[in-house]
Symmetry: C2
Subunit: 451 residues, 2 copies
């Protein structure tokens, strides 16, 4: 293959993955990686564990240093912002300088959703996206006694644990009727009940409400909500979600999908020749509904980066889509999901021709007689007509994500509940009961399907 120049914009996960794998596949290619940040190749997902103190040094979140990339022949440009793409001349403008490319890979990631709040521009108001956010929050935590968290999803829950472990009182304001609003309400309520039960003195959750105004002059002092709550806190963490960072792409005629992310085909190509997009800025397809979806996760970014690099270098790889799998822990409590929720299934039912049906079972994660066994709850959703599984959600003190992951391969192969009834899962008293909770859920759901 002739030597070509690949330019990668973005330095978190997908970008570095494309760069590293491309170089391994074709050592003669010239690879330039531009990032507006001052580090590359890091795990943003690890930030809550840096805040909690579980990880003592933020450098541990750096997977590969610029020096390591340079050693492999990849040119890394820190603090370099790409402001324009010139697709016709195959050039980009970075820090006011033009660079030509043979292939351009956009890995511009996501940006935090900024809620509409009066007086939002104050000191000690944070997001948790990049390593410097972690450093800034950690510094404030040293003297803080209380925090307001806006929104309550995965990152918020992980951050809440970090704050509680450091004796910082937490108030959460969530505008949905329940926390973990992307999961079904019962699941969100189980989490809330558990969290409040174990942390009642130090954690207050306000749902169905909206922060409308921040208090404070220069520094954040607290907030007012629509329903009249007044919350005092030493700092604020905004976890209102992430949207794809597509401003650069938009400016040059790259198609944006219905989710607001860059439209890509299964090879990770955009509509413009030789321009690719990967990671949080690229649109995904849900393998369950076949509809476009949003999923911002390092695990997916890695897979897309791998796929893109193979195709960039003469291969023929396809990234078919995602299942919406996710997991998190709150102390010993685990929350996991794969596929779509019942709520989502009802939303798209007529569009994709399904009739959702669900069951929730509660069962011990290990043999009941083992002293360290714990009850977990599994919600399983299927299409009543075809019997096909649509999704699984799980919460509990025990081993939840093992059960959720069994369903990932089942979803990818469009397995029915019936096909899972006799699944030969591993069994031993310290790891599961003779009838695994996920099978109990299948039995119950099959009964409903047959009824």
């Amino acid at each position: 293959m002739k030597n070509k120049r690949i330019i990668v914009i973005g330095g978190s996960t997908a970008g570095p993955k494309v760069a590293a794998k491309s170089k391994r596949m074709n050592p003669n290619s010239e690879i330039l990686l531009f990032t507006k940040g001052d580090v590359v190749s890091y795990s943003a997902c690890g930030l809550p564990y840096y805040l909690s103190g579980v990880i003592d040094d933020i450098k541990k979140l750096i997977i590969r240093t610029p020096e390591e990339f340079e050693k492999d022949g990849i040119q890394v440009f820190l603090n370099h912002t790409c402001t324009k793409i010139l697709p016709n001349s195959k050039e980009v403008i970075v820090n006011d300088k033009k660079y030509s490319y043979d292939d351009l890979v956009l890995a511009t990631g996501g940006v935090p959703v900024v809620p509409r709040i009066k007086n939002i521009k104050l000191e000690n108001v944070f997001y948790l996206r990049v390593l410097s956010d972690g450093v800034d929050i950690k510094r404030v935590m040293e003297k803080a006694k209380s925090v307001l968290i806006i929104g309550f999803g995965y990152i918020a829950l992980e951050a809440a644990e970090a704050f509680l472990k450091n004796n910082i009182k937490v108030t959460v304001v969530e505008n949905h009727p329940h926390i973990f609003s992307f999961l079904d309400r019962e699941i969100g309520d189980f989490i809330k009940d558990h969290v409040l039960l174990t942390q009642s003195n130090n954690l207050n959750i306000i749902t169905n409400d909206l922060v409308t105004e921040f208090l404070g002059d220069k520094k954040f002092m607290g907030a007012k909500t629509r329903n009249g709550h007044k919350i005092e806190a030493d700092f604020c963490l905004i976890c209102a979600g992430v949207r794809p960072n597509v401003s650069l792409a938009k400016g040059c005629g790259i198609d944006i999908g219905v989710t607001g992310a860059i439209k890509v085909d299964k090879k990770m190509r955009t509509n413009l020749p030789n321009i690719w997009a990967v990671g949080d800025c690229a649109e995904k397809h849900c393998l369950v509904t076949t509809l476009p979806t949003h999923a911002a996760l390092g695990s997916i970014a890695n897979k897309e980066g791998r796929c893109c690099a193979i195709n960039l270098n003469g291969g023929n790889e396809q990234f078919e889509g995602v299942l919406g799998s996710a997991v998190t822990k709150f102390f010993d409590y685990t929350v996991g999901v794969t596929g779509i929720t019942e709520h989502r299934a009802r939303e798209v039912a007529s569009k994709v021709n399904i009739e959702p049906i669900s069951t929730i079972v509660t069962k011990h994660d290990k043999a009941r007689y083992m002293p360290d066994s714990n009850p977990i709850k599994i919600k399983l959703t299927a299409d009543r007509r075809s019997g096909r599984i649509l999704g699984a959600q799980g919460v509990g003190l025990g081993d939840v994500d093992k059960r959720i992951n069994v369903i990932t391969s089942a979803l990818q192969k469009q397995m029915t509940v019936r096909e899972l009834l006799n699944l030969d899962l591993t069994y031993a008293p310290p790891t599961s009961g003779a009838i695994d909770p996920i099978l109990t859920a299948c039995y119950e759901l099959q009964k409903l399907i047959d009824a």
Copy 2:
């Protein structure tokens, strides 16, 4: 449905399952359950945890008492041995008395393999199959300082942990070249290395050797081996495997399969009308090779019992087969398997037309930067020609069985390695790395397949 009399022979897992589910499905049926033991419906798998002291009361291993069965209208006959089946008259002889049946279910379980050892009939020589074995061993453990274990598979490993926790020195003699002989040699060696590393002062493993003679007059005092070892020990546990208990079935013309277990079809029917077989005494089919196989596990017994009960009561259920899934723990170390090993794949390669190819990867079970992450080893085997996965084995201090169970549904749907490359597994730093170890194994194996 007309009232019928179902006679069940066997009281451990599969028999009680058939009885209980049949009664639920058809409350008018008359159900008689005969067992030669003095308990029914118990978890033999829990015995090692009773020995260790993790379970303080052996009664906790009883899932349902005879009284509970009686309350549901199921007649339970303890200490009743069935000695003959009269298929023509549809009768059985139990404790010298005739009982007629409409349907007969054989759940006669397994019996321990008794190795050829001189002077084997001594006091303090045990097997670990039924609850009374547990009680007897526990009593001897109180004064014992050392034990000889013959054979080293799952139960032996679990029992060894129990003995070590109670300050009893363990010597193991295994006649295969490696322990865990039903797994590939590397895996057996990993386990051995780990076990010896952590327990070197109290555990001695002798492989490639055979106990030929027991020492002692009335009580077990020790043993001699073929290779000249002389082992002193206070008691002996024989874990040389289990074979199906089919003497009753053989006596009346029921077909026995190549594995020595009772031949059954997918509905759990034997060759004789109205006679069924379930659990450890019934032959299984391996879903990977389609060949008959042996698997004695409570999880499978439960599924077969469910299938049989449904068919007994007018339903139409099939039990397709097993994957050979198994798991165990040794302190914090986990060993898991599903599908077939590379060794087994080579054995049957020409018969089932496969060309086995394998990879072993070592990777952390959680994000590498998490202080409690641990390296695990995954061995993945596939058929080079079709790319179809044949099996997975895993060992390590971390979360091994989660990865193994992902492969169970993949095996059941005959997924290829390529289909798994982009599997959307759950990801969060406390539960896995951004690239899960099982996916790393898939990447490596796909490279070998493509090479």
